[in-house]
């Protein structure tokens, strides 16, 4: 059985050095593996180094040190073999301005070795899937930002490369197309393709990913399945309360329990705390002050864990 991971990073480093400027260590000794056929999410704040990793793995950048492999091929030693295994949606809105959507599909298909008939057949399918059928004769320059993004994402589903990189792929898409994209990603993964995605929308990562890695300042902060990363937050709980009134004294009271996060929307409070004891204690204390009309205690979301991990800047790996 072939146990080669789809993606393998070993002590990967990327330093951007410009004359008369301080060198920036965008990726700082990163190591992880992504198994074949899984959906892997690379998360982190702006400037964490996510896009740099995608650019290294797609052979756009060469690493300063360490090694990166895609389907067993080294990105530096064998970049063409790597490019034969991948398709990519980059963060930039990449579009052929002078070509129609139909011709963009044709060009993309040709580059990936599809026959004319095969391109047509697949283009019909992805056009329907991404709601592009009525725009096939429109030129790239005449499309809105969201449509351009759709064309870009749709192209990657035109071909069957084993590894798909999606860098902020759903940015600028409306809800319907986001759903279509998420659905398509899930279906492709079930066919055995490996999907590597970066996103700022943590709910999206939570729904889609089999495993995730959280990065900050070029370093890995946490890695594992969504559930295991959420467990880094130990027993973090989320308490949602709908109150009769929210006064400053109520908020002061909650602050004494050192919550991780408080969100106030009218009379609804969302509080994230370190464990269930704190959640119950806050609930009891608030009930002494005001009427609690409704409450709900759940495990913390990935976003809560993400915020806590990055805030503490701890290495949980």
């Amino acid at each position: 059985m072939d146990t080669t991971p789809a993606i393998e990073l070993n002590a990967l480093v990327k330093v951007f050095a410009k004359r008369n400027q301080r060198a920036i260590r965008a990726v700082d000794g990163l190591s992880f593996q992504v198994p074949k056929g899984s959906i892997f999410g690379l998360l982190g704040p702006n400037g964490a180094g996510k896009t740099t990793i995608i650019r290294i793995l797609t052979t756009l950048l060469t690493p300063s040190a360490g090694e990166a492999r895609v389907m067993g091929y080294d990105v530096v030693q064998n970049p063409l073999a790597v490019r034969r295994q991948i398709c990519v949606v980059l963060q930039e809105n990449a579009i052929e301005l002078h070509l129609s959507v139909q011709n963009s599909f044709r060009v993309f298909g040709r580059f990936h070795g599809l026959s004319r008939d095969e391109i047509q057949r697949r283009a019909d399918r992805v056009s329907e899937l991404f709601g592009l059928s009525e725009y096939l004769n429109e030129k790239g320059m005449d499309l809105s930002g969201g449509l351009k993004r759709r064309v870009q994402v749709a192209k990657t589903f035109l071909i069957d490369k084993p590894v798909v990189f999606l860098d902020e792929a759903t940015t600028g898409m409306d809800t319907f197309n986001k759903r279509a994209t998420i659905q398509a990603i899930k279906e492709e993964s079930l066919k055995g393709r490996t999907i590597v995605l970066t996103t700022h929308v943590l709910d999206e990562a939570e729904v889609l990913c089999d495993s995730i890695a959280i990065m900050n300042h070029g370093k890995l902060v946490a890695q594992g399945s969504v559930d295991s990363v959420k467990a880094y937050g130990l027993r973090m709980m989320s308490l949602s309360m709908s109150l009769a009134t929210v006064s400053p004294s109520t908020l002061d009271l909650i602050q004494t329990y050192q919550p991780i996060r408080i969100d106030v929307k009218n009379t609804t409070l969302d509080v994230t705390v370190k464990d269930d004891t704190a959640a119950l204690a806050i609930l009891a204390a608030v009930r002494q002050q005001t009427e609690v009309r409704h409450f709900e205690i759940t495990t913390a979301s990935l976003e809560d864990v993400f915020v806590q991990l990055l805030d503490k800047k701890v290495s949980a790996t």
């Binding site: 990519v88 980059l90 052929e96 002078h98 580059f111």
Partner: protein, 253 residues
Amino acid sequence: MREIMAVVYREYLVRITGLTWMFFDLAVPLLYLLMFGVAFDRALGQGMNVGGQAISYNAFFLAGVLSMTCFGNALNTSYGFFIDRDNGILFEFLTYPITRGQFLLGKILFQCVMTVLQSMLTISVSALLLGVSVPWHLIPFVLAAMIVGTAAWFFFLSIFAFLIRRNDTFNMVINVLYFVLMFLSSVFYPLDKVPTWLRTVAMANPLSWHADFLRFLTLGVGDLHSILMEAAGFLLFLFASFWIAIRALQKTL
């Protein structure tokens, strides 16, 4: 080859969306010949003496126009990298299953087809309208030289397109290059009677090497040994530019 043809197909699709652009591409060398060439031909009256041969300026300038065609086509194609980079599509191309070298060759292959068409049109008009005596049996060699010239200048100018980030800076650099390379060369005038310093500089200019080779083919002027040396120098210029352009393309990322 499939990879290169995919790039050619893309270039073809992009270019047929702008037929006006294609028309001007074909017509510009002709306009140079008919306006600039005819005016100088009349101004010089009795023609000129080149390498002991009395010839008309139109006949002399034909090789220059053909050289300029290569340079102009290469310039237009290399400028396309700015448009592709601004659209982000350049970076996407570079993740496709194709080498950097195949990408550059595909880009220029379509333009070479255009160059051949332009050359045939220009040579035919110079023969039919301007009375230039064209050695038709040597035309295949002229066309081969045109393809080599277009490719060499494309690789050379692409280096600037990859390394310069700003569109306006690129335009400025290219304008200076265009001016210096065109006027310090044998494109517009023979070098026998110009000041020594100018001749020395012009003889080190690859545009002169290319124009001299084309002039040798179209008029038979020039010393065979020198022409072969210039041709060899130009081929070296082609390969060196290709090699550097591939590295510059990787550096642009």
